[in-house]
């Protein structure tokens, strides 16, 4: 797992308190509307996302950049770069 202190994003998907597996479905929808090279931020409070999102990126050919833990908001911020 790559830990980041900050990362700039072109779009943000707020999935805090949204039940599993929304952390996989909604980012996929967001990526459809983004350009190659753009970065998507995913906000989630679901611990399972730390495994699921890197695995989903590997399977779907997207680049998983890393994760920031947000102390203020009690959630994780995961970053994906659209590859294709």
């Amino acid at each position: 797992m790559r830990f980041l202190t900050e990362c700039k994003a072109d779009a943000s998907a707020d999935l805090v308190y949204r039940v599993c597996p929304m952390h996989l479905l909604e980012p996929a929808e967001f990526l459809k509307g983004m350009k190659e090279g753009q970065v998507l931020e995913i906000l989630t409070d679901y611990d399972g996302a730390l495994d699921d999102i890197p695995a989903w990126c590997a399977k779907h050919g997207q680049e998983f950049i890393g994760v920031c833990e947000d102390d203020c908001d009690d959630c994780y911020r995961l970053y994906i770069k659209k590859v294709s």
Binding site: R18, V19, P21
Partner: protein
């Protein structure tokens, strides 16, 4: 005919032949167009919208079409509507969901003293099980929350304010834009229960500046078993029914597809008829109110005289019990309500009527008439014949009334 015009004998005979149903706030029939639209979704289009095959995709598309219709009724974007099983569930999701999503900010809630039980009891649940402090905000004699009073109780720990759009018990419409603006200024989530108003008066969530808004299917002419919650984008909610991807992970459980079709259809019809319906209901209301005030002594027209629901007339008759009056009217084919079914069944004095400053004795004489587009002028006239007789008869054997009369005659001597 004017609101105080004469009552024709023939129209009265017509009205007495039928049932005069004036309790539409409690239940109203599903509209034929609504039922017709729903029917295919029980058998032909029965698929589960979460499945991956084309049958499911068609159902999913129909749901999204209805979501857009419900959103249009309240001036909201389509993806800001969550379907629920009823207005009470939407209120539970709004209160508990928004409060629990903001625990880091604080544990203080504000609700008005005259909210529906689903709001009051959700607040009490948070107080009991999650250490919240709840402020039950008083109202003025018309049942309105005064913005200055709200301003005084907002604290840095306040996470949510819930104030109904209108009361089904006294008909008063609140000044929501002012109250909601105050909350936005303080960074507090604002919820309004619009079960009584959606489809009855115009609603625009942007103009009103609300973050969460509840509406109910049956109040719109959809069947029981369907409601909806509007949420402003960026407002987080902790789900209250945990399951899977239904309602984008915000409310679990297989969708009530026929109910959703019914609600969307009813919302579309309601939006198209809003003005005409309100005009008709206001006419009926004003005719009934003028007649009651003219024919019956010692009566209080409860709620705000102008800022009130078009199809709502509520009174307290001094010296009688509302339940007894309901039974007497029932025998004459007239169906009305005491205003609060829960309070009435428990033989408790309505908290709403207490909150507007009525004494328990007077509050007991509460009766509420709520109309639909199908009610007619003749039915109001029929009530205006039967109601004064029923009130007079009940007062003739009411010790409270006799005491009041004796006191009055003592004063005049």
């Amino acid at each position: 005919m004017t609101a105080t015009g004469s009552i024709s004998k023939r129209s009265l005979e017509d009205a007495t032949m039928e049932r005069t149903y004036l309790d539409h706030a409690a239940a109203t029939p599903a509209r034929p167009e609504v039922v017709e639209a729903m029917l295919p979704y029980f058998q032909e289009r029965f698929g589960n919208p979460s499945a991956v095959y084309d049958l499911a995709a068609e159902i999913k598309d129909s749901i999204e079409e209805q979501r857009a219709r419900v959103a249009e009724l309240i001036g909201a974007p389509a993806d800001s509507i969550i379907f629920t099983s009823c207005g009470a569930e939407a209120n539970n999701l709004a209160i508990k969901g928004a409060a629990l999503a903001n625990l880091k900010k604080g544990r203080h809630l504000i609700v008005s003293a005259i909210e529906h039980h689903s709001v009051l009891n959700s607040a009490r649940f948070l107080e009991k099980f999650h250490d919240f402090e709840v402020t039950f905000l008083p109202v003025n004699r018309y049942g309105q929350v005064e913005p200055e009073r709200l301003r005084r109780v907002l604290t840095p720990a306040t996470v949510l304010v819930s104030i109904q759009h209108a009361s089904n018990e006294i008909g008063t419409v609140q000044q929501i834009p002012e109250l909601a603006a105050l909350c936005r200024e303080h960074g507090v989530v604002f919820h309004t229960d619009a079960v009584a108003t959606a489809g009855s008066i115009p609603i625009d969530v942007k103009d009103m500046q609300v973050d969460l808004l509840t509406l109910s299917g049956p109040a719109l002419g959809a069947p029981k078993g369907i409601g909806a919650l509007y949420f402003r984008p960026k407002v987080r909610l902790v789900p209250q029914i945990h399951s899977g991807i239904q309602e984008s992970g915000r409310r679990g459980g297989t969708e009530n597809v026929p109910g959703i079709i019914g609600l969307g259809t009813a919302a579309k019809l309601a939006l198209g008829e809003l003005e005409e319906r309100a005009r008709h209901l206001r006419f009926l209301r004003d005719r009934l109110v003028a007649g009651v005030m003219d024919r019956i002594p010692a009566v209080i027209y409860t709620g705000h005289p102008e800022e009130r629901l078009p199809g709502h007339a509520s009174f307290c008759f001094v010296g009688i019990e509302g339940e007894a009056l309901i039974f007497m009217l029932n025998r004459r084919g007239i169906y009305a309500n005491t205003g609060s079914a829960c309070a009435s069944k428990a033989l408790k004095v309505s908290p709403t009527l207490c909150a507007i400053g009525l004494s328990p004795d007077v509050a007991q004489g509460s009766i509420v008439f709520t109309f639909s587009r199908d009610n007619r002028e003749e039915e109001m006239d029929y009530v205006l014949v039967e109601l004064p007789q029923a009130v007079e008869r009940l007062r003739s054997f009411s010790p409270v009334w006799h005491k009041k009369m004796a006191a009055a005659s003592g004063e005049s001597r």
